[in-house]
């Protein structure tokens, strides 16, 4: 018996002694990319993977601020023309030099990707003409003033012209077309499983530390954490908030966390004009003839009834920042005098009485239960907080697939959502979430509540016609003050992202949620 035990122990020992490559990194990602084609799907896991191989004209730093990428500089030369000066001496991984031709080729290809479920053309459609002045100078024409072109182009990965007309998505997945200017080559891509990356020796920028990187897809939270603890994974993203508390006390593991661009809020139905909204009834269940949410005092009362610090501390376990606006401090359009709304149940009750609801009303609060961090727990907590001011709240959390279909049909009265502000500045949520629903302009596309305020619309339009960055920011700030004074929606918190890595590594937390091997560094 003893011999048998020794044999098993010996086996375990010999199996554990695998070669460890000093300069290879294994990362565990929380969601699988849908493709290795950089223009196929506007989806964070895809961007996170292809950003190792391809680069954009305009890059973003960890705080989502614009920095030079493949373009060294850019400026507006008249209202409708942007000039980009391209970096010299950049070579694609197939040896081709990077020139303005590649920019024109990329911009032409983006809207023509077949069957894309989320086309990058939203970022290129502002460009109506491309002029190649010389190999390192490109002029892009827009229709009218379009101040956000550089923000948009920060999402568009440049591919080489030598891929020929109509490069197929399949050929990017197979690796044939995976030719970028980035620091890594993609040597293997197995969908839903892993991607292998190897250092590209001809990279123009700072060489990353890791020679080989394995990107593994491990969607199960517990398995990802276990992978880090067992040493199979060196680096993981989206550490679940419940595990983070435990991991902070573990010496073998190092955590990094930072503000994201994911703004969590409650939407309040305004889509039915003066008529009643489906999930609100009187305090005894009687039907109402109007929608209480049309009254600003009711909306404010619901906002003041929420104890945001408690939500952040208890429900989010510290992995969030209570907010009274779209963005975290330091972003373009951050408004210093818009603190998180205070927790003031007494004032909330007074406001409800003033609005004609001294005994409150009944409401159902809807939310997803498998989409955002702790989503179901958040709506449950808010339900209790609302009940305390006399708004008897039913909570109904459901799977995202059902939830989002119903939300898009305006079926709910009050519901939890989150919005990832991809551009990192305030015009994006203003245009998408609170501008009047307007298919012609393409604005208000996710304004599911159909909130509409002419003053806000006018300010958003003004901001989008202001080329000067400083002046535009002031208009955006003014618009946000209007939005949150009117309680167009109820801001809750901004999620923090948590990355976990083995002790001895560091990572600068990125607001855009991307996990990039080039920024994972050994601690000094």
């Amino acid at each position: 018996m003893r011999g048998w035990q020794a044999a098993v122990a010996g086996l375990g020992f010999s199996l554990a002694a695998l070669p460890v490559h000093a300069q290879s990194l294994t990362m565990g990602l929380s969601a699988a990319p849908t493709s290795a084609d950089p223009h196929y799907h506007t989806f964070t896991p895809n961007n996170s993977l292809v950003a190792h191989v391809f680069e954009t004209l305009v890059d973003t730093d960890a705080h989502a601020r614009l920095i030079p990428g493949l373009a060294e500089s850019w400026k507006l030369i008249d209202d409708e023309t942007w000039e980009f000066k391209l970096r010299k001496g950049v070579k694609f991984q197939n040896g081709d030099a990077f020139t303005g031709e590649d920019v024109a080729y990329t911009l032409d290809r983006v809207p023509r990707v077949l069957n894309s479920p989320g086309s990058f053309s939203v970022y290129t459609k502002a460009v109506v003409g491309v002029e190649i002045v010389d190999p390192t100078t490109v002029r892009l024409k827009t229709r009218g003033i379009y101040p956000l072109l550089s923000n948009d182009l920060a999402q568009v990965f440049i591919i080489p012209k030598s891929l020929g007309p109509n490069p197929a998505t399949e050929d990017f997945n197979s690796g044939k077309n995976a030719v970028g200017t980035g620091p890594y080559r993609m040597t293997a891509y197995r969908p839903g499983d892993r991607a292998e990356l190897a250092l590209y020796d001809g990279y123009w920028g700072t060489k990353p530390h890791w020679k080989n990187v394995t990107v593994r897809m491990v969607p199960n939270d517990a398995a990802r954490t276990a992978g880090l603890l067992s040493g199979d994974l060196d680096f993981i993203e989206f550490v679940p908030t419940a595990d983070a508390t435990k991991l902070r006390g573990n010496k073998a593991v190092h955590l990094e966390e930072g503000d994201s661009l994911r703004f969590v809020y409650l939407m309040l139905d305004r889509s039915r004009g003066a008529g009643p909204t489906p999930f609100i009834t009187g305090p005894n269940g009687e039907t109402l003839t109007t929608n209480p949410l049309n009254d600003q005092r009711v909306r404010l009362a619901l906002s003041l009834a929420i104890n945001r610090p408690a939500l952040v501390e208890r429900v989010m376990e510290g992995a969030a920042r209570a907010t009274g606006q779209f963005l975290a401090p330091g972003s373009v359009g951050y408004t210093p005098d818009l603190p998180p709304p205070p927790y003031d149940p007494a004032k909330a009750k007074a406001l409800l009485a003033e609005a004609g609801f001294p005994n409150g009303f009944r409401i159902t609060l809807h939310g997803p239960n498998d989409r955002y961090v702790n989503d179901a727990k958040i709506v449950q907590a808010i339900g209790q907080m609302w009940s305390r001011i006399g708004v008897q709240t039913n909570v109904d959390a459901m799977t995202w697939t059902t939830f989002v279909s119903r939300a898009n049909k305006q079926e709910f009265s009050a519901y939890l959502l989150a919005w990832g502000i991809s551009s990192g500045e305030a015009s994006n949520p203003l245009r998408s979430l609170v501008h009047t629903y307007d298919p012609k302009l393409g604005w208000g596309a996710v304004n599911r509540a159909r909130y509409s305020n002419p003053e806000v619309d006018a300010l958003v339009a003004k901001a989008m016609a202001t080329a000067d960055d400083g002046k535009r920011e002031q208009v955006l700030i003014e618009a946000q003050r209007k939005v949150f004074a009117d309680v167009a929606l109820i801001p809750l918190h901004i999620q923090k992202n948590i990355w976990g890595m083995r002790a001895g590594l560091t990572y600068e937390p990125r607001a855009d949620e991307e996990s990039l091997a080039m920024f994972v560094k050994p601690a000094k």
Binding site: L11, G12, L15, A16, A32, T34, S35, Y40, H41, T42, F43, L114, N115, S116, P117, G118, S119, S121, V122, T169, E170, N173, R190, P191, G192, D193, R194, R216, M217, V218, P219, N220, A222, A223, R224, A226, G227, L229, S230, G231, D232, L233, W400, T401, T402, V404, S405, R406, N408, W419, G420, S422, S432, P439, G442, W443, A445, V446
Partner: protein
């Protein structure tokens, strides 16, 4: 024999057709694929363009008709999410699930039958009793929990086995397999055991019950009286008689191990079909859901066929024609 096979095939075709109708309606009831698929950044015009592109602006019956026409041409449609043929996506992931399932079934035979025999032959011994008690744990513990415990013990605490993933693979017949490399086998050990656990318990209990039932029978007494060795009595005569229910169950379980490897695959991040189907259901990727379920239905039909054929081998009295 031929008529019997033909009848089976016609039955199968009807089952598959009924299943596709159910899936088409079912997916439609859960939600609209468009709402989940389309990037939130897309504006209204872009949404309409994508909806038209995927054919989702058509009424459901016309979408179904379109699918049937494609089916006649051997085309099960392209995934909404990956823009690749659904069948190819499933094909890419099938080997991973297959080798896991086959290993799990082999484990349940290799471990379950001997233990069951032992427990059946010595039901009152301490070992026999503890085997039976242990088997209760085998099928009553939820497999995701057991999976996490295995990871905690063997990967995190002891560090013997890798926690997740498929490890190194080697090509055989143009397909990548894990069981041909040491690293692949190490990666496969825990998920295969996790998947096999319930089946080990099931096979074990079936074997034990069979042995207990057969031992007091006349033919066993007769064989003993004839002076056959105890080994020959148990392994040839008793075995043959208890094997029919076990083969049936193993056959059915093989199908469900493949179809429901979902839990194990997601706990161990095993890139198989189960993970594909769960991801596809989450984003309502209808072509993949339909194609996957068709593959599974066909698989069950094929397994049942093989089980029926095996009966005739095990028991010469069974005739296929009489099996309606």
């Amino acid at each position: 024999m031929i008529a019997w096979l033909l009848r089976r095939l016609v039955q199968a075709a009807f089952v598959v057709l009924a299943m596709t109708v159910i899936v088409f309606i079912g997916v439609n009831v859960i939600g609209n694929p468009v709402d989940i698929l389309i990037s939130p950044e897309a504006d209204q015009a872009e949404r309409l363009r994508i909806i038209a592109n995927l054919g989702l602006d058509q009424p459901l019956w016309r979408q179904y008709l379109h699918f049937l026409v494609g089916l006649l041409h051997g085309d099960l449609g392209r995934s909404f999410v990956f823009n690749e043929p659904a069948l190819r996506l499933i094909g890419q992931r099938m080997p991973a699930t297959m080798e896991l399932a086959v290993t799990a079934v082999l484990l349940s035979i290799v471990i379950g039958i001997p233990l069951g025999l032992y427990a059946g032959l010595y039901p009152d011994g301490a070992a026999g009793r503890s085997i039976m008690a242990g088997s209760i744990l085998g099928f009553s513990l939820p497999s995701f929990w057991v999976g996490l415990m295995l990871i905690m013990v063997f990967a995190v605490q002891l560090g013997w086995l890798p926690s997740t993933g498929r490890g190194a693979t080697r090509e055989l017949f143009g397909v990548q397999w894990s069981f041909l490399t040491i690293d692949g086998l190490r990666h496969m050990a825990m998920p295969a055991l996790n998947l096999a656990l319930g089946n080990i318990a099931l096979v074990l209990r079936l074997t034990r019950a069979g042995v207990r039932e057969n031992l007091p029978m006349d033919y066993v007494k007769f064989a003993r009286a004839k002076g056959l060795s105890p080994a020959r009595v148990v392994f040839v005569h008793v075995m043959k008689n208890i094997l029919i229910p076990i083969v049936t169950v193993i056959g059915l379980e093989f199908g469900s191990v493949i179809a429901f490897a979902v839990v194990t695959e997601s706990v161990f991040a095993w890139p198989g079909m189960g993970k594909l189907i769960i991801d596809s259901i989450n984003v309502l990727d209808r072509p993949v859901i339909v194609a996957y379920l068709m593959v599974i239905v066909l698989l069950f039909i094929a397994i049942n066929l093989i089980v029926d054929l095996l009966y005739t081998v095990l028991d010469p009295r069974v005739r296929l024609e009489s099996q309606e």
